[in-house]
């Protein structure tokens, strides 16, 4: 279990560096779309909600998972759709 934690810590730290370097060159006009897409991606928390909502029998935990899933799903569909709308507008202006 300890070895597993170190492994997870490693990918966590490496991912922080990737996130750090990947957005430095963003054009100012794309700040809001980038924020919107980052927001949509952060709803990957739905993975945790899926596991909570997964068991066969009903429980408080499953109900919480269901609500969490719905909230995250709103965010996923809403976030990507709204980003697409913004980007479409950007293209038209050009």
């Amino acid at each position: 279990m300890e070895a597993n934690f170190i492994q997870q810590l490693s990918i966590f730290v490496l991912a922080i560096f990737v996130g750090y370097y990947v957005v430095w060159s963003v054009t100012p006009a794309l700040h809001t779309p980038l924020m919107a897409v980052t927001n949509a991606i952060s709803s990957v928390i739905i993975v945790g909600a899926l596991i909570a909502a997964g068991p066969e029998s009903m429980s408080l935990s499953k109900a919480l998972g269901f609500v969490a899933m719905t909230l995250a799903a709103i965010n996923i569909f809403g976030g990507f759709t709204v980003t697409q709308r913004m980007l479409a507008m950007y293209k038209k202006k050009k």
Partner: protein, 285 residues
């Protein structure tokens, strides 16, 4: 279940993570931005489908219901919203991620067995307690902070900074109490500790955001975005889920950098904005 299945799951999560990185990268320039958005969607699709087929998920009715409900509400809002209302929409969306993180942590706490977090003694692993504690606290701050940011941007409350004497001391006190509760939670896994910690985190989320003025809100929204990433990563450690850890870290650090870049663009000091009331406005001190 089997080793093959576990390996396939890890591989699929890896592909999803790479797609998310490409999405963030793609959004940096206009030429690649649309491809970037599509990468993001694909990554999310892969992450969701992979999890649905994992052995932990055994019943599908509620999952399908939640997905359909979320899709209908999300797409309707996204299509109808005025382009000028974009910052507050993003703030509102953040609050959902924060709340989802709180609920997932709550689900893990109330039914730790289902998540494999219980040791032979019947107690939740101490490491898991720290991780779910951090996840629930950051998630709660993200939620209430985003709600305040939303009400300010939407004009429901005045955008003027709200500050009062001893504000920073009060915030520090709240922070310390939450920290103490987190330590206590590691010693004794009482439900009241978990929920008190959560409630205090909701309050401090409000306290952190009210002293920040309306003009600085976009930076705050981006900062909250970063918080939602850290919350997801915390939950990822709890659930030992690589997709959540990687993506959470990615969102956490890129969100922080983006808010820094936005501050520089507005010629504002990053720390003045984030700490609100410090420096800049002498009226606060």
């Amino acid at each position: 279940m089997t080793e093959l299945h576990a390996n396939l799951t890890s591989l699929a999560y890896l592909v999803a993570a790479v797609l998310f990185i490409m999405a963030l990268r793609g959004l940096s320039s206009p030429e690649t931005s649309r491809t970037g958005n599509i990468c993001g969607m694909l990554g999310m699709l892969i992450a969701v489908v992979t999890t649905v087929f994992s052995p932990e998920v055994q019943s599908y009715e509620w999952i399908v219901a939640a997905l359909v409900l979320g899709a209908v509400i999300g797409i309707t809002i996204a299509k109808r919203i005025a382009m000028t209302a974009m910052p507050q929409l993003v703030a509102a969306f953040h609050s959902l991620v924060g709340m989802a993180a709180v609920l997932v942590a709550g689900a893990a706490f109330t039914n730790p067995g289902a998540f494999g977090l219980v040791g032979a003694t019947g107690d939740i692993f101490v490491a898991s307690r720290i991780e779910m504690g951090l996840g629930v606290v950051i998630g709660a701050i993200t939620f209430s902070g985003s709600v305040i940011a939303f009400t300010k941007l939407q004009g429901l409350v005045s955008g003027a900074p709200v500050s009062f004497g001893g504000q920073h001391y009060l915030n520090a006190l709240f922070g310390l109490v939450i920290l103490a509760l987190l330590v206590y939670f590691c010693i004794d896994q009482q439900p009241w500790i978990f929920w008190t910690m959560t409630a205090l985190a909701f309050v401090i989320g409000v306290l952190i955001i009210i002293p920040i003025g309306g003009a600085d809100m976009p930076v705050v929204v981006s900062m909250l975005n970063s918080y939602s990433g850290w919350a997801a990563a915390g939950i990822g450690f709890t659930l030992k889920n690589d997709a959540l850890i990687v993506t959470g870290a990615l969102v956490g650090s890129s969100g922080a950098i983006l808010s820094y870049i936005m501050c520089k663009g507005m010629n504002r000091s990053f720390f003045n904005v984030i700490l609100g009331g410090f420096g800049g406005d002498s009226s606060a001190g």
